[in-house]
């Protein structure tokens, strides 16, 4: 059995469920809208201060918004006992992880684009000169958040207080994503060069957690 075919099947099924129910994406979009509109009231109105605050605020908003989606990434499996389908896939279960993480990453990229637009509308953030770096940081950030979030979400499926447990586990571990992504976004918005080392560390972080998820998912999915 081809592992890649399983990854593709899981990825396509998750996207289909996301588009069909719209719960997860809708909740994340509305949450981001509410938070950014509130930020537009409390963040100082001077362009210099907004430029200084925006990168960090953007990634904190994205982190909290992502959490809403990641916490529900196994909801469709737990509702009808469909987790058994994934556990019984006749391949290394790491391939299932890659499909789930891929679908989560794509959903997060959509949320990032939406939040970027909200920052332009509400906080006057101008992406004209920074969009390439911001997009790359967004892709790496989505991959990092999705890898770690998918793994932790699967680990907390059968746990009571999982809504509490997921952020407690996730936040300390995604700190590098938050720091790197906001630093890169800040540098790009200020039209400063982004050190190559930051990209390297970011890519390494993603690779480590993607590999870790692939390797340990076999054990995580079982009771």
């Amino acid at each position: 059995m081809n592992g890649l075919a399983v990854t593709r099947a899981v990825f396509a099924k998750d996207l289909l469920l996301d588009f069909r129910t719209r719960d997860r994406l809708g909740h994340m979009a509305v949450f981001a809208l509410l938070v950014v509109s509130l930020l537009s009231i409390v963040v100082p109105a001077s362009p210099t201060e907004r430029l200084a605050w925006s990168p960090a605020l953007l990634w904190v908003v994205l982190l909290f918004t992502s959490l809403l989606g990641l916490a529900r990434s196994f909801q469709s499996e737990t509702e009808g006992g469909a987790l058994a389908l994934l556990v019984q896939a006749p391949v290394d279960r790491g391939w299932v992880f890659l499909g789930k993480a891929g679908a989560n990453a794509l959903a997060l990229i959509g949320v990032e684009l939406w939040t970027g637009i909200l920052f332009t509308v509400f906080l006057d953030v101008d992406w004209t000169h920074a969009w390439r770096e911001a997009l790359c940081a967004g892709l790496l950030g989505a991959l990092g958040l999705a890898s770690l979030g998918t793994l932790l979400s699967a680990m907390s499926v059968a746990v009571r207080f999982r809504e509490f447990l997921l952020p407690v586990l996730l936040f300390p571990l995604v700190l590098p994503v938050l720091v790197l992504a906001s630093s890169i976004t800040g540098a790009a918005l200020a039209e400063r060069p982004v050190p190559t080392l930051w990209w390297g560390v970011f890519a390494l972080y993603d690779w480590v957690f993607l590999s870790l998820g692939y390797l340990v998912f076999d054990y995580v999915l079982e009771d």
Binding site: M1, N2, A5, V6, R8, A9, V10, K13, L16, L17, R20, T21, S76, E77, E79, G80, G81, A82, L83, A84, L85, L86, V87, Q88, A89, P90, V91, D92, R93, E222, D223
Partner: protein
């Protein structure tokens, strides 16, 4: 080589001992009834055999392979499992669910349609699972478990929710699978209604096999 081989298998959930030193061996082409009261360990035994839960202790071999070893992935494709849930996505249609499972197991589209038609799922194929009656949901779950012509079929209370006609059809299907060489393990209460003629009856009590013999 036995199709299913268990040696001193235990499964503990914290202080609860769901299975205690279960040893058994089942040859190919057998229709086996797992009997026992609620909480006897029938469902846990099926879940362990279906690789859904790892045993705490003991050894398990399906067709000569430990399903929890690194080589276990290949043998999972030979096992069909229907638990107490249908294990289907509520927001997908029956056809979408079956297609997804077929893709997971590398099963071709014609086989999917053959099984759906055998279980008379035609009228509900395009309906979302959440809108189905209990009986249709059960049949859809069964169709899902049968994808890929499993050599080991594990069914937990499969007659629950089925009407008499569907129940009889299921019985005939199980007998046919057994005749084709598959091992069919069915967990069911004595009160589940008219059951097929099983080749063997294993009675579980408190997580132990307390009786093993030809079914009456």
């Amino acid at each position: 080589m036995s199709a299913v081989e268990l040696r001193d298998l235990c499964k503990h959930y914290g202080p609860v001992r769901a299975l205690r030193d279960v040893s058994l061996s089942v040859e190919s082409g057998a229709l086996v009834w797992l009997a026992g009261a609620n909480g006897a360990g029938k469902s846990t035994l099926l879940r362990v055999l279906g690789s859904l839960t790892r045993p705490t202790r003991g050894s398990l071999s399906l067709f000569g392979v430990d399903p929890f070893s690194s080589a276990g992935a290949s043998v999972r494709g030979r096992v069909g499992f229907l638990g107490q849930d249908a294990s289907l996505y509520a927001e997908l249609s029956v056809a979408e669910n079956l297609r997804f499972c077929a893709r997971l197991r590398g099963v071709a589209e014609p086989e999917l349609h053959r099984i759906a038609s055998e279980l008379e799922l035609g009228p509900v194929l395009e309906q979302r699972v959440r809108t189905l009656s209990q009986g249709y949901r059960r049949r859809a779950g069964l169709a899902r478990a049968l994808l890929g012509s499993p050599s080991l079929l594990l069914l937990d209370e499969p007659w629950n929710g089925l009407d008499a006609e569907s129940g009889e059809r299921l019985t005939r299907l199980l007998v046919r699978l057994r005749d084709a060489g598959a091992v069919v393990l069915v967990a069911a209460h004595e009160a589940s209604g008219p059951l097929p003629r099983f080749d063997r009856r294993l009675r579980l009590e408190g997580g132990r096999v307390v009786a093993d013999g030809a079914a009456a």
